[in-house]
Symmetry: C2
Subunit: 342 residues, 2 copies
Amino acid sequence: MESKTDNLIGKTITLDDVAKEAGVSRKTVSRVINANGYVSEATRQRVEAVVRKLGYRPNLVARTLASARSTVIGLMIPGITNRYFSQVIAGVESIAQENQYSVLLLNTYGDFARERDAIRLLEEHRVDGLVYNTPTLPVAELRQLLPRQKAVVIIGHDPIEGMAGTVNVDVYSAMIQAVEHLVDVGRRRIAYVKPGIDERYPHRKRLEGLREAFRRLKLDVPPLMVEAVGGSIEDTSNQVEAWLSTKPDVDAIICYNDEAAVATIDACDRLGIKIPDDIAIVGFDDISLSRIQRISLTTFRIPRYEVGVAAARILFEQIHSTGDTSEVILQSAFVKRNSTPA
Amino acid sequence: MESKTDNLIGKTITLDDVAKEAGVSRKTVSRVINANGYVSEATRQRVEAVVRKLGYRPNLVARTLASARSTVIGLMIPGITNRYFSQVIAGVESIAQENQYSVLLLNTYGDFARERDAIRLLEEHRVDGLVYNTPTLPVAELRQLLPRQKAVVIIGHDPIEGMAGTVNVDVYSAMIQAVEHLVDVGRRRIAYVKPGIDERYPHRKRLEGLREAFRRLKLDVPPLMVEAVGGSIEDTSNQVEAWLSTKPDVDAIICYNDEAAVATIDACDRLGIKIPDDIAIVGFDDISLSRIQRISLTTFRIPRYEVGVAAARILFEQIHSTGDTSEVILQSAFVKRNSTPA
DNA sequence: GTGAAAGCGCTAACAA
DNA sequence: TTGTTAGCGCTTTCAC
């Protein structure tokens, strides 16, 4: 059997090739591929057979150029390696797949310049939308950059009026609850192991909660706080150890996240400090590790995966209907374990 | 001051707009943007000024269509959430950024169908290359699918002759070393906590190493092995606990990875089994957690990040010079801690 | 139901 | 050093 396209070996198969081989117009093939518009059943069958025979694959790049829709969204993350963010990524990715979208992943390292570059790059790739995790750039700059994107959802940042959807976790309330719990079990000299210079939303909200709780409960201003989160568990542990050996009057420590809490536990271990008798410890996240007996960390379960899911959902709402930029706030759940007294 | 393009508000700025405004040809602008070809200094200055003034951003989609190069690579990962893979991602991403490339991330969940879809999608996106982590698809199918890609590097799989570069970690030797270490410290009844049904390379190689070590050291065939890796730490811990309570004669357990090892430690704790006195435990990975006192896990440091870096490097070699498909094998490093006797 | 023509924004090859 | 002419492979509009 002869075909009009036998000389196509090695060449990329295009819509034209399929059309020629099937003896129909390009548009008809396009209709079959995209399952839109009316095509007679017979024609459809014939076209589909040819598509299979030739091993045709649509060129999404050409489609994007012609249609101005890319079926790609961008995802900016400050640290891929971080357990927290990898769950967010998973959530976003899953909803993207559900919507037949692909995810372009950009690691920003929580760095101004990289964030700028990433936004630009995403714009140049003409992505249909962008999930932007924990912006470091000042609001003024965001106001300039974001309007150029077709759709934006920000995670971990104050809403920027009418410019982007936002998804946040209510760590403010969680922090208040943490302090209340510690006071309930008789602790008063509460410290906070926090990230280094960090004005970003997730930290700021914790801090506001901490201050509010101290005010309400009429506690002293928290003792010097340890700036120790961000590096490896080992680094954090060393810094906390050094700090602890100069601060013997602390009886409770709240940590920015579970990783820091584990590091803090390790520091206490090395100093012979008993948990929770001498010092009680509270974390944030509820990583799976916090559950094992040797750690048994009191913490707040933060719905990381759900954060990603929510962000992606809002984004697709925007993409599909230029829907309003909404704000979602997810709650965390207190999990009492053995690193704090009963 | 008047410009020829004052009526461009709202419209996407194209190369043409810049060219018109600057009073040069499109190609000249293209030369300035891409910094290739000769352009007089004066012209360059003028064009750059216009680019800035108009806020022009090249359309990468159009460029890709015209040039058949996408500056995007695909990255297929069986599980984003997994600590191991997130490091690999970071490695790939970092080299990609270095090469001015973006990464399209696809989560395959270690699932046939998803892997197939992902490869197709990547092909349709006309990515310049593809890093494929731990293929689950049978070799026969890979032979069909992979040649359609411009460049391929596979992580965690036997080399497929002339079809893709490969990056692997020599866990075979590591496993032998693990057994030797355990025998050295007097253990003979060694068990292996392994993934469920899993014929994939990383597990198979460990298993081959295990068998070889048992042969060399004339040990009995390892006791029933626990299929317990893959779910959460909690799941694994429960399964190991259940199994352990029926197998009191084990004096050492090698675990597929550190996460499983931590779960195993937890199971022992709950059963009142002393580590390392009653049972010695060895893991694979050296996650940062393994270092803390409460865990102090004997393990093998696996260069995860470096795996990603190596994969990306090979890929770019292929992309830039249709270089040979090479094979890289990285070594792991034994790390002795307190979960095994001195 | 189907087709023809135009064009998305860029690069490539060749001129000038 | 710069410009011209064709496409890249698809969708879109409008005609038949």
